[in-house]
Point group: C2
Chain length 113, copies 2
Amino acid sequence: MSRASARAAGLTRAEPIFAALGEETRLALVARLCARGPQSITRLTAGSAVTRQAITKHLHVLAGAGLVHDVRRGRERIWEIDAEGLDDARLWLEKISKRWDEALGRLKKLVEE
Amino acid sequence: MSRASARAAGLTRAEPIFAALGEETRLALVARLCARGPQSITRLTAGSAVTRQAITKHLHVLAGAGLVHDVRRGRERIWEIDAEGLDDARLWLEKISKRWDEALGRLKKLVEE
DNA sequence: CTCATGCGCAACCTCCTGGTTGCATATTAG
DNA sequence: CTAATATGCAACCAGGAGGTTGCGCATGAG
């Protein structure tokens, strides 16, 4: 939580992050990178239903949303999660949920009066 | 958090929710429904860049993800947020983030030894 | 040096998505 | 009853997303 980027205040960055997570293969990639740590493309492709190229594309989408970053190591490229992105998304959800709870409180109060 | 549905344990429900939130117009709709409370389609369309029909479609997508529900009232249809969906998404993010933190801890430990 | 690995690039292809327009239907205001 | 309001339904469209295949290039293993 302490690592969440400050700009998470607005909903600016939220949409691309949700869009990136809103696809089965990518969501699985994120889950995998979180659970098993940094991995190469080939390794990430293993066990997946799609081609290495497809995985590569998905990784680039995730990178575009700031959810992962990569480092070249020898002849392979290692991809690692960027947890700040996840935090930003979570913060956005918290903020919006809270806003709804407040609205709900007002509505309830309005009915009671 | 107490309202989050239990099934949030797996990532089952997470993907459609993220997919629904991963579109500008829909994310704005969710934000608006949370901030200003239940509203009719026409009201939600006001101020939006797209057609009422487009808004209607988006609302159905959100409903499909369990993020909103609607009630007919007279000749208008009122849409309201279903905050459990937001909670589910948040819980998924928390779970995965935590998993990554643990993995990171293990990696750090591995390097130090 | 030679080969097997691990990737990157690019051309294609298909489907779904976001949006629109046109028209029909239901309700409430007067 | 009549008109205006609030939606619903369906056909249509362009563009982008997800996926594949084919081929070229760099790098590490022997």
